[in-house]
Symmetry: C2
């Protein structure tokens, strides 16, 4: 069974998945890299890093994934669609290595990158996008990569089978919230929490029948 | 040195310290008792309960406390001030056993209860209320008991030395938020997180110089 999964989605204690003021230099706005320092401190990111619970979670990211779906706000800062040369912020060899479906009203031809990543631009509902990505995944799982707005829409539509959120103990105060409008979400899932020595708390929501 | 402390303040994953629709029967509105089940499962609450990390935290509640400050919304449901006989929802022997300062514009004479609790009703700013409670505490610490609005005001004013919040892995979706408007709060504190087998994550913010 092909599942729909979310990994390493970081939010602040007050629930923001990104800060305010996103632009080409600051992909997470005023949050800077504070939501993701725990990932950079693992040995998945660089040798000599921590090899504990943060590392174990972060390595689930690409295991068995055949396609990713991301929102337009993850693919680029506001206005990227006006730049015909914009290919995302990940360089020539992005870390996806699968087809990636970017949800946008500003569709354009696919962009083939090095390392197996191809960006496809589709104007579709979450359910439609998932059907498309599922087919492209060839029996493997589909990852929903965020950002917060996109992830919230997929959660609200009941489309996520496995959700991993890393809560970082900082208060951003402003930005885009993940949890809004999801009252009672936990009822459909088995929920586990574990805090790491880094201060991050890992939450997993796993659908009971998945 | 007399500190200002907060203990066992429970919030949902989406940051609500109480639900919507508070009334005389439902003190936490639609949240019911879901924010506090972890406390009821400890052996502090009843014999045979759990004796682990939840229990260790919950027992810090009254250690060295000489007075409590609470908001009007904790003392009673909206409109309690129109009931001259309202004495809080804790019965004849409330669990405070110290002077308790209720912040309200609707002041009334003090009410002496069994067991050492006396409710005082004061119309004061957080700093003024703290000075009053500090004096009444006779050298011991002052606890700020909530609700969410009151606690947020004390945090914004920089008046809290030790904050213990229990994050319960449910999504309430609506109610009163604790974390709003507190951007960067963590910078003034040493922050620790630990998750319990109950699923609750305990956060402590301890002021570096306290």
């Amino acid at each position: 069974m092909s599942l729909t999964r979310v990994h390493n989605f970081a939010v602040s204690l007050d629930g923001f998945g990104t800060g305010e003021g996103q632009n080409a230099a600051d992909h997470f706005g005023h949050a800077g890299d504070r939501l993701h320092q725990w990932m950079f401190a693992t040995r998945w990111w660089e040798p000599g890093g921590s090899g504990g619970v943060d590392d174990a979670f972060v390595r689930q990211y690409d295991r068995g994934i055949g396609a990713e779906i991301m929102g337009a706000g993850k693919f680029g800062h506001p206005g990227w669609h006006e730049d015909p040369d914009w290919k995302g912020a990940w360089g020539p060899n992005p870390p996806f290595h699968t087809p990636v479906f970017v949800l946008t009203r500003h569709t354009r031809p696919p962009i083939e990158m090095e390392g197996g990543t191809t960006f496809h631009f589709i104007d579709a509902s979450p359910a439609e996008a998932l059907a498309t990505a599922r087919e492209a995944a060839g029996g493997e799982d589909v990852r929903v990569g965020g950002g917060a707005t996109t992830l919230r829409e997929f959660l609200a539509a009941g489309l996520i089978d496995h959700l991993h959120v890393a809560v970082v103990p900082i208060l951003l105060g402003r930005g885009v919230r993940l949890w809004d409008g999801l009252e009672g979400l936990e009822r459909d899932y088995r929920v586990e929490t574990v805090s790491a020595p880094s201060g991050v708390t890992h939450l997993t929501f796993t659908r009971a029948n998945a």
